[in-house]
Symmetry: C2
Amino acid sequence: MPASDDPRLVIDGSPLPDDLDERIRQQLTFVAEADRLKTILRASPLAAASRRENDAEHSWHLALMVMLLAEYSDEPIDVGHAMQLVVVHDLVEIYAGDSPVFDPDAVVDQVEREEAAAERLFTLLPPDQAAHVRALWDEFESAATPEARFCKAMDRLEPMLLNWLNHGGTWQMPGATESTVRAREAGVVAASTTLGSVTGRLVEEGLRRGWIRADP
Amino acid sequence: MPASDDPRLVIDGSPLPDDLDERIRQQLTFVAEADRLKTILRASPLAAASRRENDAEHSWHLALMVMLLAEYSDEPIDVGHAMQLVVVHDLVEIYAGDSPVFDPDAVVDQVEREEAAAERLFTLLPPDQAAHVRALWDEFESAATPEARFCKAMDRLEPMLLNWLNHGGTWQMPGATESTVRAREAGVVAASTTLGSVTGRLVEEGLRRGWIRADP
């Protein structure tokens, strides 16, 4: 959803004292800019309130799920490393906006928009940390490691659970039917046989109850 | 801020299919209940929007700060372990509510309320994971390890930065004056000489600019 068009940085609203060390100044500038992730709305409805979820809340929920569900990864994973992946995985949406998966218009240019956002955002950090965060984001995006695959599975499972708790949620969006929902489920199956079978049950039941539409 | 008085669990609004494995059922019940953390408001204002921060957003921001600022811990820390501490550190507020530090009424009974909340919330998990999350929460609360001390420092630094970015924020609450703000700053100093000196500069400047009141 709408990302910030403001060319100013959050920190420009209240510049840090002049005498701070340059490295810390860069790090706190990034930490302040990251506050914008709390304003980027996803399509998913919350379960505990009548509003949509934002990216910061979502990222926290994934970190909690990684901790609690890591035992179901088909490959062994380093939980601490996986938590780093989920904490940074949506940061580029601060400038690129969220691209709801069931909205065909939203995914046009998504790669280009996110690439430009990564360049603009991560380079606020000192060069070594910019490279580190960039590497984490690339690892997540490319699903190149067991940790990245498991984090992607959590990124699919969490909105499916929110949809279940809302008796439909984004499963009711115009672009969503059984096959597009199943395509999302595949991201869970790819990392976890056990959790893939759980999401399979949720989708079967969702279809049976009319929370997910059959393919046309 | 007001915690949930609803005696029902989030999952009761949409029970999971009957045939799920009991362990996974318990874990998903907890993951669904955790959605409530997104509804618990803190006193701190965001920097990027005109509203207060919720506990889930706050916990995510701390996880990011742990990753990026760990180099300033006076003692070496395990970043992955520290991230687990911050992800769970406020969960009990789902039932106990937030207790703003500058509000003397809010901290009455805080320990008892949080203890009861921990018992109610963590026992939704399978016993081994209930014990693990409880141990993480106890470690954080008691500041018993270098990781816990650094996480507590982040838990002090983040709202100070939000206050700075808001030209006052919770520093303007009735109970806040230089000495109570300095008492918060002490939590940063205790874990990081470098970040303690940064917060010292923010407080000095905040006093000079009238964003923090002098003691009466």
